[in-house]
Amino acid sequence: MLRLDAITKNFGGLTALDQVSFAVADGSITGVIGPNGAGKTTLFNIVTGLYTLSSGRVFLGEKNISFCRTEELAGLGLVRTFQNIELFGRMTVLENVMVGMHNGTRSGILSCALKLPGHRREEKYIREKSMEWLRFTRLEDLAHVAAENLPFGKGRLLEIARALAARPKIILMDEPAAGLNSRETLELASLISKIRESGITVVLVEHDMDLVMDICEHIVVLNLGKKLAEGKAVEIQGNPEVIAAYLGTD
């Protein structure tokens, strides 16, 4: 599904990512973990076109997306959520999801301004489908609340609902459990499993080890911009280098 081939990113003299390669299997849940400053978010920003990579290549399926613009990726089936929630604050919860459906719908300025019949039909479809995504994430009761007024945990869910509305093949989640309490984290875990069951590949960057070990069948460990280890949860947990990176060594 997604393949990273020797990704390197330099910021001036600082190498944030150094020759990182790994592959994400179709329909899997893959976790990317590592201490702070390991380069996890940088990795997401490169894959989603927000940063330009210094060298290496990124493939989505067979397509080289290394230099795709961010706005092209939703059309290719790749979306993401953000670590520090990036909702459309002054829009309602429902409208946020409706923006998620921008991808896959096509009414332009003219047909919107003139309310042409095609646009009316599409608008109805967008609204109904968006409500379905809100039900899927159990946010339907909050549909008409401004997104900026949502409690933090619901905001995270809304980010996911909005991303799903874009009908992705693969969704990248940047620390979806950060700031959630344990009950919310459990609900998140079951939601992520439900998303995978619907055929969507999931990649998550996460600090919550329990969550990662629980639901990810493949884990990539980054440390100081380099890939330290890769494998199943049990392999990672027993890897002395990983333990050293997390706990420090003498």
């Binding site: 990726l73 990036e86 923006v99 719908t105 300025i109 919107c112 309310k115 874009a166």
Partner: protein, 326 residues
């Protein structure tokens, strides 16, 4: 879809009020003022689409207004051509210019965008002022013919009122439709988080340029109407001061509100009659209004009125209070 129905009823009430107003204002000086309220409402709606919805500032919008006025004024005062055709030409040229300069300019954000559009406005103002052979320079361009459809000549306040407001109501209706649509949501999304909007597949770069261009088209049409209504134009009407006045209109009326654009235009167009005592200091009054509004009423006057109106509408229709906004 209660929200949508409410919106349509609200617009029809508004349009009916506008169309009926001359019966109460007949022969009054207010009728003349209302002609300019109509023109300014078009301009305020145009700027609001750009700033209130897409969140992109322009301090040079008076330039597009001037472009429409001068293209119509220069051509129709010299050649016996169809003025509506020239109006269309002015709209297309302003839209094209906005499209071309929009690509580099709209890459900028915040203060930098404000400076770039300010610069554009000043350049255009200098052109209006210095190309004396065409524009008449600082002393102005007289002898612009009134618009006519067949034997109907728009040469008095009442006729101009209906001429201008037909355009204004159409622009308002199209704008209301637009902001409630897929494109309107995308614009507001760009405003709140451009990066998230792009991740969702919104081509922010193109959409910003398109809306800038649309805004220029509406402004140019307003300018063309202004030239024919006034029959005389001078550069002073299209300078930096007027760009700031437009900005004040939408901040006072309500950023991100079409009716707010009207409200702001109505207040700021009527106000100078009362501000005469300040003479050339009016720009300071506008500045003060901008500061006070952003400090104490960031939603503009319309936000308070809308809340009240929604409350009443919700009671009448027993809906959810109308979540769609226009």
């Amino acid at each position: 879809m209660t929200g949508r129905k409410q919106q349509m009823i609200l617009f029809m009430l508004f349009a009916a009020g506008i169309l009926a107003a001359p019966f109460f204002l007949k022969g009054s000086y207010l009728l003349t003022v209302m002609v300019f309220v109509g023109i300014n409402t078009m301009l305020a709606v145009a700027l609001n689409l750009l700033l209130g919805y897409a969140g992109q500032i322009s301090l040079g919008h008076a330039a597009f207004f001037g472009m429409g006025a001068y293209i119509s004024g220069i051509i129709t005062s010299r050649f016996p051509v169809d003025p509506f055709g020239v109006m269309l030409l002015a709209a297309v040229l302003a839209g094209a210019l906005a499209f071309v300069i929009g690509f580099p300019i709209l890459k900028l954000k915040g203060h930098y965008l404000a400076m770039a559009t300010l610069g554009f406005g000043i350049i255009m103002y200098i052109i209006f002022n210095e190309t004396v052979a065409y524009t008449g320079g600082p002393s102005g361009l007289p002898g612009i013919p009134s618009l006519r459809i067949g034997v109907l000549v728009f040469d008095n306040d009442l006729r101009n009122y209906y001429l201008v407001w037909m355009f204004t109501l159409v622009v308002m209706l199209l704008a209301i439709n637009l902001v409630q649509s897929r494109i309107g949501r995308a614009l507001r999304a760009i405003h709140d988080s451009e990066v998230a909007a792009r991740v969702m597949g919104v081509n922010a770069r193109i959409l910003k340029v398109q809306i800038f261009s649309l805004s220029a088209v509406i402004s140019a049409v307003a300018g063309s109407l202004y030239a024919h209504v006034m029959t005389f134009i001078a550069p002073a009407s299209f300078g930096f001061n007027f760009s700031v006045e437009l900005l004040t209109m939408i901040v006072v009326g309500g950023l991100g509100s079409i009716y707010g654009s009207f409200l702001g235009a109505a207040i700021l167009t009527t106000l100078p009659e009362f501000l005469r005592v300040f003479q050339d200091w009016d720009i300071i009054v506008y500045g003060l209004m901008l500061i006070l509004m952003t400090m104490f009423m960031p939603g503009g006057l319309i936000s308070g009125m809308e809340a009240g109106l929604r409350h009443v509408m919700a009671k009448i229709f027993k809906g959810d209070g109308g979540h769609a906004q226009a």
